[in-house]
Amino acid sequence: MDSQVIDRLRDQLGSEAVITDRQERRTYECDGLSQFRSIPAVVVLADSAASVSRAVKVCAEMQVPFVARGSGTGLSGGALPNADGVLIVMSRMRTVHDVDLSNQRATVDPGVINLEVTRQAAPGGYYYAPDPSSQQICSIGGNVAENSGGAHCLKYGFTTNHVTGLRIITPDGEAVDLGGGKSLDAPGYDLMGVFVGSEGTLGITTEVTVRLLRAPEAVVTMLCGFESTDAAGAAVSSIIAAGIVPAAIEMMDSLAIEAAEAAVGCGYPAGAGAVLIVEIDGPAEEVEHLSPVIEGLCRDRGAFEVRVALSGEERALIWRGRKSAFAAVGRISPDYIVQDGVIPRTALPEVLRAIEELSRDSGIRVANVFHAGDGNLHPLVLFDDSIEGAGVRAEEVSGAILELCVRLGGSITGEHGVGSDKTKYMSTMFTDEDLDTMQLVRDAFDPNNLSNPGKVFPTPRLCGERPGRRQGVHPLQETGIAEIF
């Protein structure tokens, strides 16, 4: 990197905010998707919107690419640094500016941890709904970039449905307010709506205003054991057809259950070919009415065991198996790829059969864990990278699953984002014209392509990026800091 860039950054932000030591820079070489690694040329620790603006202005002036990074928990390599660029670390910006219960809004810095918003709102009986499973550690700014979901987005929606205002720094370093702050329907284009989920390619968020929801009065969680995924899938269809929108419906197949049992001994129904976790919440009378209805629908579809959790502890027990699933497959396989494809929910039986076939033909095992209510699959493609060719075969199976999702009218990613990981699949889902049209937005915000270049859209492999060995368990999971959905 041109030493002039570093000098300018030091001049603008102070030496202590600029990291050039290689070992220190290396700390930031990857995010939650550890097979993509690239050491940034220089790291900047931002502590205010003004410092982000100054750093970005230096980048714009010197035509140097930049990447913003929150907690680095993303699962698609969206925060993968550019080897010739500046990495702007946002995690020092952690102030909760305002918890305004009279307007049911909170205004926070981008480095504030997702769960912290709920912690601050909880004494007043409110919470922040989007709940990616990394919520103990992921940042709101990262959630905005990725349009993060979570297990409960079936009923409550994604980050984009909960953000009402953003303050951003554009790729030329200007501060701009998008959205209406605490109000809705700001006149003009809904640039906030486009910005959320743009994976850092349109600028950097420096302040976020979100909706707070009243914590539900009642919550019931059910665990239902079925003989097969087909039977469990039919139960999901019955629930939806009855006009019920549960807060969450999750499914695990026998291999995923086996892994979870081995890891945390969750005690799921013995001999189950599939389990469903169904959670409903809302006013007490509604929940009381619906709980037996759902139980009946599941039994009609062959559930041989139904456990209903009423207390927080019982609920945690049911969720434990599900939440540990990703980490747990590390027990039964040294390496794995997590996919995030989405299908129309009714195509579930067809997709599961096709995955089974792919698995049989390739000899690669696939464990299935998914958000069954909205068709978001998380197939875990298991392999041993020390066996020659296994990684390539697993990659092929993984790609074939995504192509299947697209063919059935679904998506290559439901919540993890495209990042660096899935750019090569974008053309299976979108035409050149589609991608060109999205690029028109990019051109308006970032004509020089400096903000997180190489992500989302198909491009050649990033400069300086080196493919690493896939690691079965992410360091954050290993230390128990975060679970990955």
């Binding site: 979901g149 701009v176 307010d177 109000s183 299908i343 978001n376």
Partner: protein
């Protein structure tokens, strides 16, 4: 080839005609009207328009065609009313794919046998799906289900240069690529023509109840609204209506769900609102409609600012010698006010006064509908903080400024 011949080439002679005075948009006379039947025809029409430098305004049922500023120029009206097919209703997946000319009411009727609906109210009777996307218009249920932006999950658009593009898809959970659905929602036809839309649907609830109460003034109404929002009844909508500037405020809350739950929640609401509250299965007549008047404004504020906005509307209408009605969602802070016919200067003063309060309460005021004389003297859209970025988006999508020129914010 002349422009007319190119248009005939693009979509067939039977779908091209000369415009009449009835086709004028916001008082601006048009030259041609085309009625394409599918996306390919729209694409060919836009390519022809590009070739001949025609300014294009899109029209559905024309129920809100005069909203916003009048366009600076209209050479071609693209009438989408022939594109009125419901292409797909996948009830098991709770989605539907439609053409833009489908009437919202027709759409709802088609979804009803599967006990499903698009959770968007028909605020302006006769609206088409394309029209609600273009204006981003939403009604009472916005409070629980979100607005059009939250329910539109996939679109096909034809750009100013005739290129056809898609974004989103037919699954609700999808983060692949930019969310152009949100960019197009509320863009007033200035970025392209939406030729297909995919919506997320919701089940029609088994039961519903409207709990209403008349309250003496804005402060009392504000306090009751705050209590409702802070309660556990989980309302679908929290609406207020005030037909006289300084008269009583009617508060009405919609509860939806399963039978036993709804009646229990309605009783809880009555307990909260007081003995004068009454429960009905019928919606009030004013529910989800715009107040009648010669000029209408969409006014927004942070929810706690709604009493101040009510007060401001009342005070401004008295000061300006106008009669004003106000109605809308106290829960979301998105309301409409309409004033009686009055001197242009008086209406302009009313707009300025109300806008000042809305801005102070973190919101905005947009003149949606007004006589031409009023629109020519007031700032229809108000101040737009991100206007330079919006102009860049417009220039990127429509560099020759041929789509609804001048109709949108900041002269876009």
């Amino acid at each position: 080839m002349s422009a007319r011949e190119s248009l005939i080439d693009a979509c067939g002679a039977e779908h091209v005609r000369d415009a009449t005075s009835a086709d004028a948009i916001g008082g601006v006379k048009a030259t041609y009207v085309v009625s394409p039947v599918d996306t390919d025809a729209v694409s060919a029409v836009m390519a022809a328009a590009a070739e001949h430098g025609l300014a294009v305004v899109v029209r559905g049922a024309a129920t809100k065609i005069d909203w916003g500023n009048p366009p600076t120029r209209v050479d071609l009206v693209v009438d989408l009313s022939a594109m009125n097919a419901i292409l797909e209703h996948a009830d098991g997946d709770l989605i539907a794919r439609v053409q833009p000319g489908v009437g919202l009411a027709t759409f709802q009727k088609a979804l009803a046998p599967a006990r499903q609906r698009l959770a968007v109210d028909e605020v302006v009777p006769g609206s088409t799906v394309g029209g609600i996307i273009a204006t981003g218009l939403s009604g009472p249920s916005r409070f629980l289900y979100g607005g059009v932006r939250d329910l539109l999950i996939g679109i096909t658009i034809v750009r100013a240069d005739g290129v056809v593009a898609h974004a989103g898809g037919r699954v609700v959970k999808n983060v692949a690529g930019y969310d152009l659905c949100k960019l197009y929602t509320g863009s007033y036809g200035t970025l392209g023509i939406v030729t297909e839309a995919i919506f997320r649907l919701h089940p029609i609830p088994e039961a519903s109840a409207y709990v209403s109460i008349a309250l003496p003034d804005e402060a009392t109404a504000g306090a009751k609204v705050a209590e409702v929002l802070d309660s556990q009844v989980v309302a679908t909508a929290v609406e207020i209506d005030r037909s006289e500037p300084v008269g009583p405020v009617t508060l009405c809350i919609l509860i939806e769900g399963f039978g036993p739950g709804v009646s229990a929640r309605a009783s809880r609401l009555v307990a909260l609102l007081g003995p004068d509250a009454h429960v009905s299965e019928q919606r009030p007549q004013w529910w989800g409609t715009l107040p009648a008047g010669a000029a209408s404004l969409r006014i927004t504020a942070q929810p706690s600012g709604v009493p101040a906005v009510l007060q401001s509307v009342a005070r401004a209408s008295v000061d300006c010698g106008l009669t004003a009605a106000i109605r809308g969602s106290a829960g979301t802070g998105v309301l409409y006010t309409s004033v009686s016919r009055g001197a242009t200067a008086a209406v302009a003063r009313f707009v300025d006064a109300v806008r000042e309060t809305c801005t102070a309460e973190g919101g905005s005021a947009v003149v949606v509908k007004a006589p031409a004389a009023v629109k020519s003297v007031v700032n229809v859209w108000g101040r737009i903080p991100a206007i330079s970025l919006m102009r860049r988006v417009k220039t990127s999508f429509d560099p020759e400024n041929r789509l609804s020129p001048g109709r949108f914010v900041g002269g876009i």
